[in-house]
């Protein structure tokens, strides 16, 4: 099995501040890989580093074995990596449809209609809200839109940054369910960054724990779920 994405000893900085130290992770094809960690552990930095913002100062980011460390963000996106960024970042004044059109812009609009149908099957709510302004959607619908927008470019790898942020438990369940279905049915490779460790680890084929910019633990999702340290630090509120 080949790795879609591989980070080799990556270090990232914001100015003089080091946010990632020697991080190495692997994202094998057709798997869901989860990265968990507390606030400020560097989860989002890792996502952004894959996208070249900031660029990794040391180490390499490999995509299907190709070094993409130095590429500009938009070219990384054009290679088939799509991202649903932290805080969703939908285009609030544009309609749901225009948001989805923006997602498809990179690959052109040949398969747009077929893709759109797939998105509606995955998230029926988006069809109901199709002509509506994205800013008027509920938080859960906005997250669905952010994921659908990312998927419109038919990516080989989907990066999800905290899709559960600020959502009700029921909605989180729906969204995680959709991610699992996507992975099972289309074999989409997913790198999921989450604070919501419990749900995220259940979903994961493989998981990493990030603490202060360093990977401290790794294993399958089930393995990590069973570890007492993980339970103490992430699952039971630190008790």
């Amino acid at each position: 099995m080949s790795n879609v994405l591989e980070l080799q000893n990556v270090s990232s900085f914001y100015g003089p501040i080091q946010a990632l130290r020697d991080v190495s992770i692997e994202v094998p094809e057709n798997e869901i890989v989860t990265l968990i960690g507390a606030n400020g552990a560097g989860k989002s930095t890792l996502m952004m580093t894959i996208f070249g913002q900031p660029k990794a100062k040391m180490g390499r980011v490999l995509y299907y074995g190709e070094d993409i460390t130095a590429l500009p963000s938009y070219q990384i996106a054009r290679k088939g990596i799509a991202q649903s960024p932290e805080g969703r970042r939908i285009f609030p004044r544009m309609s749901v449809e225009e948001n989805l059109l923006m997602g498809a812009q990179v690959i052109g609009y040949e398969d747009y209609d077929a893709n759109l149908k797939k998105m509606f099957t995955l998230f029926p709510r988006l069809e109901e809200r199709f002509a509506q302004r994205a800013g008027t959607l509920s938080g859960g619908e906005q997250q669905m839109l952010a994921i659908a927008r990312a998927l419109m470019s038919k990516p080989k790898l989907l990066l999800l940054d905290e899709p559960s942020l600020g959502l009700a438990p029921l909605v989180i369940k729906q969204i995680f369910g959709a991610i699992r279905d996507l992975n099972r049915e289309t074999g989409l490779t997913v790198l999921l960054v989450e604070q919501n460790a419990n749900q995220a680890l259940r979903l994961a084929d493989r998981a990493y724990v990030l603490v202060n910019g360093v990977v401290t633990m790794q294993g399958t999702g089930v393995e990590l779920l069973a570890k007492p340290e993980i339970k103490a630090a992430y699952l039971e509120g630190g008790h």
Partner: protein, 426 residues
């Protein structure tokens, strides 16, 4: 009751600030006595009047405003939106037939030309500010580049208006890119400062490069636009419009022709903008305005997208400058001061950034109203200022603050109110 107390407090605070501001401006007056020495006279009554006026106005706005303006504003918005479909074509028809109305004084055609010039500048800047969301305070630079390109090229190489027009546009677009490159990483206030400086740099270069631009003396002697080679000359004779059609030459023919030229150029700007808005490029501009980081992650080349916005906006600014230069027959750096940039920006913002119809309405208000009020002499700018403040109170996002989606598949469009703009940043 507590509301009233709050309102009174608020009004008193407003009156206090009015006192601070008006104290020196209205309360003190420089006067010269008979001996020819300068002295300072005080005007307590006038000051008191101004402060009381501010207090009363603030109180009125607050008490009345607690229930009313929200309703009025949304009502007005809905009204404009409902009738918007008819306003635009009606305005267009009016704009086309306006110069042909019998008995219309020439001054009105002239005013029409002036307003159309600003409509065009507004539409050009709307691409940069309204669509791409890049706050540009130096738009006049491209207007100046267009004007001077035309003046220099036409007088040096003997080319006419129509040959120079695209050249002026392309040169302005080139300078748009020159501005665009260094400011790619800047946003908001910082971008505004640099663009402001850019506008001033262009003006200062024009003022000081005397050997090329004539410096403060300006340039003259550029040709007027011709209608397929026919000149508009009062003398008549062969080769002129009046001579060719065998009619008596009259000033209105030239004015009306100039009016149609700028109307055509403005409509071209509008058409291109409306077309682009439906293309991936225009959509990328709007997305860029909404969220730059999201654009990057979607594979949008932010650099090129911004540069095209700057270049296309500047291109039309250059067109307008070229026309201005040809119409005036004389240009000097005085025509390209910061106040021009500010006026055009005010037109875009007042109209509701991104709205094409809003620009037209705002241009009529911003340019037309001060002209209409000429007879009121010194109170002109005061009334104008008060009007602007009132508009900003009633419609803080501009006349037309809703945008319609550019693509519609079957379902009824839901217009998008700017009041809710900040949503969706969870």
């Amino acid at each position: 009751m507590s509301n009233l107390l709050e309102d009174l407090k608020d009004s008193a605070a407003a009156a206090f600030f009015a006192l601070l501001i008006f104290g020196p401006f209205i309360g003190l007056r420089l006067s010269d006595n008979d001996a020819g020495n300068l002295g300072i006279a005080t005007r307590p009554e006038a000051l008191a009047l101004a402060v009381i006026a501010v207090f009363a106005a603030r109180l009125l706005i607050l008490t009345w405003g607690r229930h009313r303006p929200a309703k009025i504003a949304t009502g007005l918005g809905a009204q404009v939106q409902k009738t918007g479909k008819f306003i635009a074509p009606a305005l267009l028809v009016f704009a086309v037939v306006m110069p042909l109305l019998p008995g219309l004084p020439n001054a009105y055609i002239d005013l029409g030309v002036l307003i159309m010039t600003y409509v065009m500048l507004g539409w050009g800047l709307n691409i940069v500010v309204g669509l791409a969301g890049l706050l540009d305070l130096g738009y006049v630079a491209f207007y100046a580049v267009g004007a001077y390109s035309f003046a220099l090229i036409s007088t040096t190489f003997g080319l006419g208006f129509w040959e120079c027009l695209p050249i002026a546009g392309i040169l302005a677009a080139f300078w748009g890119m020159c501005l665009g490159f260094p400011v790619l990483r800047l946003r908001g206030d910082y971008l505004a400062i640099v663009t402001l400086a850019f506008g001033e740099i262009i003006r200062l270069v024009i003022t000081n490069w005397v050997s090329l631009t004539g410096g403060p003396n300006g340039l003259l002697g550029m040709p007027e636009p011709t209608l397929f080679g026919l000149r508009f000359s009062m003398a008549g004779g062969p080769g002129t419009f009046a001579g060719f059609f065998g009619i008596t030459p009259a000033p209105w023919q030239r004015d009306a022709f100039l009016y149609y030229v700028i109307l055509g150029l403005a409509l071209l700007t509008n058409w291109v903008t409306l077309r682009l808005r439906k293309q991936p490029l225009g959509r990328a501009w709007e997305a860029l305005r909404e969220d730059e980081i999201a654009c990057r992650s979607l594979g949008i080349n932010v650099r090129n997208t911004k540069l095209t916005a700057f270049a296309i906006g500047a291109f039309f600014g250059g067109f307008a400058g070229c026309f201005f230069s040809a119409r005036q027959g004389f240009i000097s750096p005085d025509s390209f001061t910061f106040i021009e940039s500010a006026t055009v920006l005010a037109i875009v913002v007042l109209g509701g950034a991104g709205s094409q119809l809003g620009v037209v309405l705002a241009a009529c208000v911003m340019i037309g109203v001060p002209q209409m009020l000429q007879s009121l002499q010194i109170y002109r700018m005061l009334i104008f200022g008060i009007a602007l403040v009132l508009i900003m109170i009633v419609r803080p996002r501009g006349f037309i603050s809703t945008r319609r989606p550019t693509v519609l598949l079957g379902k009824k469009p839901v217009a998008i109110g700017a009041e809710l703009r900040a949503e969706g940043r969870g």
